[in-house]
Amino acid sequence: MSKVAASPERTRWLRVALLGGMLVLALTGLAMILRPTPDPDELAKQASREFVDRRFDLAEADLGRVNRLREPTPFDWFLRAQILMTKGKNDEAIEALGHVPDDDSMGAQARVEEGQLELRRSRYRFAEAAFLRALAIDPKLVQPRRELVYIYGMQLRRPELNATFQALSEVSPLKYSEVFLWCLTRGVTWDSREIVQTMEKCIAADPEDRWARLGLAEAFRMMNRYDDAENALAPLPDSDPVARVARIRIALDRGDDQAAERLVAGGPADDLNLALLRGRFALARGDGPEAVRQFRIAHDKAPNLREAVLGLGQALQTVGDPAAVPLLDEGRKHERLGSLVQRAAVDKNRDDPALMRDLGDACAAIGRFPEARAWYNLAITRDPLDTEAQQGLARVKEAESRANAAPR
């Protein structure tokens, strides 16, 4: 066939094809118009299932469809955050979680996730705030308390650590390692190298993180890196009593007695840590009455603190005050607890119910009733028929009732 003869045939086929395509499109469009709209909630649930099944891309796509159908709900935001986390988009995930209000059923969990993300970003201050918000919403949550134990433990914020362990023990049975750590952190210090690594990241992520600066300064001091310690403290004013104590310790280690004495003399008169230091200084120079005064301040603030108990007892003894006797007796009980904690550190002792009971007795003896309960409970978990532990619990309950009933 010639090109001239083929042309009309070809044109006819082209027209048919075009018409056919338009017909298909029209029919498709009609089908789409007539098809029912997916239920966004069902679609969201589907997206959630896909997420659980680890089909993250599908989940993301379906969630996108949901959000084209309606405004995102708190559930949607939460799911979006989870998906973003799988992609490592932590900043966006936090932003998404921020859309979940506290009073939503997912509010508490959203705060927990925020906190965990902030931990990963080394923003411990924000993490702490998020976990505390979660607990304000639901005080029975366990996870945020565990995370707070980590933060406070890392920063050696012993009063907060103690309070958190106590609260944790009330909502969840504690493992041996946790009860042991609770007792241990009365006086332990961590490996400075690890503290430095962690705290430097925290300060880089959040230069306003006061506790990170304090922790870093202390770690540097322990490593004899005094200039670095002072640099870490630099933004914190002397009016910050914890920073002041840190500076005093650095001055002492540097051998700068005069700077140490000058710093000790300043600062609030009723700060616990300053009072302890002042008391120790007074004892060192043989000033018994001043030592009594300072340790009394400390003891009034923290009657259960070993250093305050022993310090006041020794100070009273130096001035010949018979009030020293019960305090030294109390101090002896603190030391006994310390000895038992050392024994509890040994792996092969971890299954010793007698040791657990002894630790319970020792904690109870110095009024640390929540820790005592935790030890007795461990013994009972091991053996529900442990009558001595049961009796220990009963004694603690009774002692607490008496303590609560006593006039303040």
Partner: protein, 620 residues
């Protein structure tokens, strides 16, 4: 004191438990590994979002992590007043200790051995006796023996081990010296891994092993000890600090160290079961009775058994509460240091938990190794210093009176300098005779292979010397590092263990001998130039124990009173010169010298010229 502080220990649990790894033994971190944040219920997202992986440690046993690289204090020193020349080889002392350390790192081989300074032949010159160890299991090799060097008086020594009968072969840690039979010569007790030994001095330069007859040869693991007259009957009794129970091969099977790199470290002291110590009461007839379970009372006066919760290292016996009776302070590794206050009649009160000297200021047990007690602040009572592991400072416990002490280490300038090192033998001796006790500590790590595990921890460490100086405001005292220009020994590093202190050349100043682990011993002759003066006192008891342990000496000089005591024990694994070499500054005479004997008798001498040795006999 081995350690994997400051505090020490690491447990890599989900929560991370770490314990302060302080302790004298092998690897010590000094502190604990930090807790890690691992949620027990992680969200799925967290599992997939690049969650920081849980830190898995390849380190087995606590205290295995390297010490956080504590830097020695960088502040420049003023020139030191002290000068010490290391003269061992030149003097003819060619002793090298053998520790028994192998790649298996059997625990007892970490602690090394001590050295004793005493006049074995009563010729007026201090002789030197070194202890050494052997391979474990004991008996599989002949190593050593312990060696005795006679002081020839001209700066040289001669090995007289063979003729003396003191050539003990075995696993010897500590040496305790005293006149147990009050016959005027010094006897020797050896603290061993294995049965202990008692050698009675025959008075002719030879010794006889009377261990069995004396009933002091119990098989165990003793570190050191101290003599004292515990029951005021005029003879010397013996406190022996036992480290614990460690048996080969069962206790050698535990791997401690870096598993991935297959680098073995010494295990933590916590891996060793503690045991009772001994308190041998001298029966006066050549035999001893262990009264360890019947000498203690509690604060209410009720009898209690002897404590079994201390890895015992060293002891000092002295009047620590100024009541005229000699007390006992025992250093323990990662346990509280014991304080036993003498109540008379052979009864001691366990004052450990109220002493303030059992733990550090945070209530953590430290790795107590060496000990000394001396009046560092001139207030008339003995303060206590304890050497500890790295990342724990050597602790200075200031005596507050009535058996109470407080940790003043940072305030006295000792904290930062001593923290990086593992301290052993130490002394609060007045090395420049200015009337104020200075401080020497011999250092050395326990593990020689940390670098194989990638840790920046050295085996050899420098020894430290601190000068006792007034504070800037002049109202108190403190210590200042003073090793600059002292001598080559202080510019180099060693693996030191026991150290003994005394006037070896009878020139009125205190010299030092150091027993290095698997190394040549050092004899540090004190050549400190000074116009300060001294008095050297040899006390001879007659009604009191002949060694006069427990006697107190007060010297009134130039407007102040210097207080000293004839102590038992001290340092670690070692025994010091029994004479008191007392610096008195520029005083040309001691206006009044008062000796209060353990018997209660008092001797007074007046206008005693300084720069001389005096012998004071009770009752004369």
């Amino acid at each position: 004191m081995r350690r994997p502080n400051r505090v020490s220990l690491i447990w890599a649990a989900p929560w991370l438990l770490a314990l302060p790894t302080v302790g004298c033994s092998p690897p010590k971190t000094g502190t604990t590994a930090v807790p890690s944040s691992t949620s027990s219920t992680e969200s799925p997202a967290k599992r997939d979002s690049g969650t920081k992986p849980e830190r898995k440690s390849s380190l087995i046993d606590d205290r295995q992590a390297g010490q956080s690289e504590v830097a020695p204090k960088a502040a420049p020193q003023d020139p030191s007043p002290f000068r010490f020349a290391e003269v061992a080889q030149k003097s003819g002392i060619d002793f090298r200790q053998f520790s028994g350390m192998t790649a298996e790192k059997h625990f007892p081989t970490a602690n090394g051995s001590g050295v004793a300074l005493f006049d074995y032949d009563n010729d007026g010159k201090l002789d030197v006796y070194f202890a050494t160890a052997t391979l474990i299991p004991v008996g599989t090799a002949r190593k050593g023996p312990n060696r005795l060097y006679k002081n020839l008086g001209d700066g040289t020594f001669r090995d007289v081990t063979e003729s003396s009968g003191l050539g003990f072969e075995g696993f010897c840690h500590g040496i305790v010296v005293g006149d147990v039979d009050n016959d005027g010569d010094q006897d020797v007790f050896l603290c061993n891994y294995g049965p202990n030994r008692l050698y009675l001095n025959n008075g002719d330069g030879t010794f006889k092993d009377v261990s069995r007859e004396a009933k002091v040869d119990r098989d165990g693991w003793s570190s050191g000890g101290a003599f004292l007259d515990m029951d005021d009957d005029g003879d010397l009794d013996l406190y022996v600090a036992n480290y614990g129970i460690w048996k080969f091969p069962e206790d050698s099977l535990m791997f401690c160290g870096d598993r991935e790199k297959n680098v073995r470290f010494y295990c933590s002291p916590r891996s060793v079961k503690t045991t009772k110590h001994y308190l041998y009461r001298n029966n006066g007839d050549g035999t001893f009775t262990d009264v360890y379970d019947s000498f203690l009372v509690d604060v209410a006066g009720a009898k209690i058994p002897g404590r079994s919760d201390g890895h015992g290292f060293a002891a000092v016996t002295a009047d620590l509460d100024n009541d005229g009776k000699v007390d006992i302070y025992v250093t323990n590794d990662m346990n509280p240091s014991f304080l036993y206050l003498n109540k008379g009649g052979g009864v001691f009160e366990d004052a450990t938990e109220t002493s303030g000297a059992a733990y550090d200021d945070k209530g953590q047990a430290q790795s107590g190794m060496g000990v000394d007690a001396e009046d560092v602040d001139g207030d008339g009572d003995l303060d206590i210093i304890v050497s500890n592991f790295a990342f724990e400072y050597n602790t200075l416990h200031l005596n507050l009176g009535k058996g109470a002490f407080t940790d003043v280490t940072p305030m006295y300038g000792l904290a930062a300098d001593t923290t990086p090192y593992v301290g052993w033998g130490l002394s609060l001796s007045d090395f420049d005779n200015d009337g104020w006790p200075d401080c020497f500590v011999a250092n050395g790590h326990v593990d020689d292979n940390r670098k194989l595990a990638g840790q920046n921890t050295e085996y050899e460490e420098p020894s430290l010397l601190h000068h006792n100086v007034p504070t800037a405001n002049g109202k108190g005292r403190r210590f200042k590092l003073a090793t600059r220009d002292v001598g080559p020994y202080f510019d180099s590093k060693h693996v030191a263990r026991g150290a003994a202190f005394g006037d070896i050349d009878n020139d009125g100043d205190v010299d030092i001998v150091v027993n290095h682990k698997d190394g040549a011993a050092a004899l540090l002759r004190n050549d400190t130039p000074s116009d300060n003066r001294w008095v050297q006192i040899q006390l001879v008891g007659t009604k009191s124990n002949r060694d006069a342990i427990g006697a107190r000496v007060d010297l009134e000089v130039d407007g102040r009173t210097i207080y000293r005591q004839r102590k038992g024990g001290c340092s670690v694994l070692s025994a010091n010169d029994p004479r008191l070499t007392i610096g008195v500054g520029h005083a040309a005479e001691v206006k009044k010298l008062t000796v209060r004997w353990p018997s209660g008798a008092v001797t007074i001498r007046e206008h005693v010229p300084t720069n001389q040795a005096v012998r004071i006999v009770e009752g004369e």
